[in-house]
């Protein structure tokens, strides 16, 4: 008995000295997500985190040979808490924008979807701003894009638009609809949906990847997408993993893993599973 224990200790000591990766030296990475932005990430009825990003995070971690823990964190404090060292990475449907890049780094994008307005089917806005399946890039202001924005401005004059606080969508409204429409900031997208249904707001702006599955649910049966979709510019280049500026090593590992997951179709498979359409960045 005693001898057995000793030999175990000896093996452990040797292992510690040699420190080979074979002895479970997988590094620990703590990833934060919001847990309230289905199907990107959400909390299932049993209280567990699930969704596209939770599946993708697990896949990326396997590729990076890392031991991952995924935690939920409120959206509006998610960047400050990353920089405060509460976790090492953010995967929460966060668009890569210049403004955010001033404070954190982003991996290469793992998803890209246009921003779209949703109204109630009974709303006059369905006629004022009919669905335009084309997606306009804000990166360069072509006459076409300008026309699409002008149409949005004209339709929303005097209307109330809901949006989740601290999002690129909120910045879009701030930039293009300030003084034209009243913008109401919500903590979560679910809350602006409630108010849209209740009739407190005329429209809500969020990502297509949020709306598509939402409109298929019973809660979304009275809602419909209107107007054009927008990408680029202040919407950024897509959704990426947020990482502290100092963690260059982790960033390059995520980059490698994301490129690999994009190449072998993992991202596409997961996005078909969760969004029912492909969100893999096209460029």
């Amino acid at each position: 008995m005693k001898k057995g224990l000793l030999s175990v200790l000896a093996v452990a000591a040797v292992a510690a000295l040699v420190g080979t990766p074979a002895f479970g030296q997988a590094k620990k990475v703590k990833i934060a997500t919001e847990g309230a932005y289905a199907p990107w990430n959400f909390t299932d009825p049993s209280g567990k985190l699930a969704g596209f990003e939770v599946d993708l995070a697990n896949d990326l971690c396997k590729r990076m040979n890392a031991q991952c823990e995924i935690v939920a964190q409120d959206w509006d404090g998610i960047i400050p808490a990353l920089n405060a060292g509460k976790y090492d990475a953010i995967m929460a449907g966060m668009s890569i924008t210049d403004k955010r890049k001033e404070v954190i780094n982003f991996s290469t994008p793992y998803a890209a979807t246009p921003a779209q307005f949703v109204v109630l089917k009974s709303s006059p806005l369905t006629k004022a701003l009919p669905l335009d399946t084309k997606v306009y890039s804000l990166k360069t202001m072509t006459p076409e894009t300008q026309k699409a924005i002008d149409a949005v401005k004209a339709a929303f004059k005097g209307k109330i638009v809901g949006v989740q606080v601290s999002t690129t969508h909120a910045n879009f409204l701030e930039t293009y609809l300030k003084g034209i429409a009243e913008v109401r900031p919500y903590k979560t997208t679910e809350q602006h949906d409630l108010d849209l249904t209740a009739g407190r707001i005329d429209a809500a702006l969020a990502s297509q990847a949020y709306w598509k599955p939402m409109l298929d649910k019973p809660e979304g049966k009275d809602m419909t997408i209107v107007g054009p979709g927008f990408v680029g510019g202040l919407f950024g280049t897509g959704v990426g993993v947020g990482i502290r500026k100092a963690d260059a090593q982790l960033l390059s590992e995520f980059d490698k893993a994301i490129v690999a997951a994009g190449k072998d179709g993992t991202i596409q498979n997961l996005s078909m599973k969760w969004f029912k359409f492909n969100v893999t960045p096209q460029e």
Partner: protein
């Protein structure tokens, strides 16, 4: 330290003060009337009304204000018949939902504070008033109420300060008061610490003014504790 950033944040956050002041003053004003009313019912001998008043106080004191706001704002909006009633004119707007939640909340807390104040009025003083021929409304207006309020004032001042801080919750139902604006600024710059420090300073300044006001009210209602005003006597005049 980036003084310019602090200063521009300060100016930006100040734009949320009028809304906050409206929320606080309106809900405190209505809430105070409600509190006195509920306190009187609680003290009345009418058991059923007293029970209902107690139930109201129990519910609003025993649940978080955040939950109350959510239930009033999102909860009531779920019912079709409310959305079709005249109430929707008010409940449709986050402003009135916030006022309603704050008023009901401070009414519940305030009623207990005022009940305590009214009950602490010494029996001897009421007896003296009765001996002087006062009763009913006159007794209440001249004796019980002023003395009771004076006793309750320090605790009620606390409640006023709590209300100022509670208005920060209005941001969760889309109101852009100080905290709401702070959140928007944080989302634009991600400089959470600086912005929240400035927001904290603004709340401190407001509460400083509020405590001064309560102090002044206390002073005004307590002439019996002050030194008698010095009347200049001819002798004193000579000494000068």
């Amino acid at each position: 330290m980036d003084i310019d950033f602090y200063w521009s944040t300060f100016l930006e956050l100040l734009t949320g003060v009028p809304l906050m002041a409206q929320l606080v003053s309106l809900s405190l004003a209505v809430g105070f009337v409600l509190a006195v009313f509920v306190a009187l019912i609680r003290l009345s001998r009418w058991r059923l009304a007293s029970g209902i008043a107690y139930g109201y106080v129990y519910v609003f004191r025993g649940t978080p204000l955040l939950v109350q706001m959510f239930l009033i704002y999102y909860g009531l909006g779920q019912f079709e018949w409310i959305r079709e009633s005249f109430l929707w004119v008010f409940l449709r707007q986050p402003y009135w939902c916030a006022i309603l939640a704050f008023t009901l909340n401070t009414g519940a807390y305030g009623s207990e504070i005022i009940r305590g104040g009214l009950q602490s009025v010494p029996w001897g003083q009421i007896e003296a008033a009765r001996a002087a021929g006062m009763s009913g409304w006159l007794l209440f207006r001249r004796i019980t109420m002023p003395i009771g309020i004076r006793q309750a004032l320090p605790a009620y001042g606390n409640e006023m300060i709590l209300m100022v801080k509670a208005t920060s919750l209005a941001s969760i139902i889309t109101m852009l008061e100080i905290t709401g604006i702070a959140q928007r600024l944080i989302s634009q710059s991600y400089r959470a610490v600086e912005i929240l420090v400035v927001a904290g300073v603004i709340y401190l300044m407001i509460n400083f003014m509020l405590t001064r006001l309560v102090k002044w009210l206390e002073h005004w209602l307590s002439p019996h504790l002050r030194d008698a005003p010095v009347v200049a006597t001819p002798a004193a005049a000579l000494a000068h």
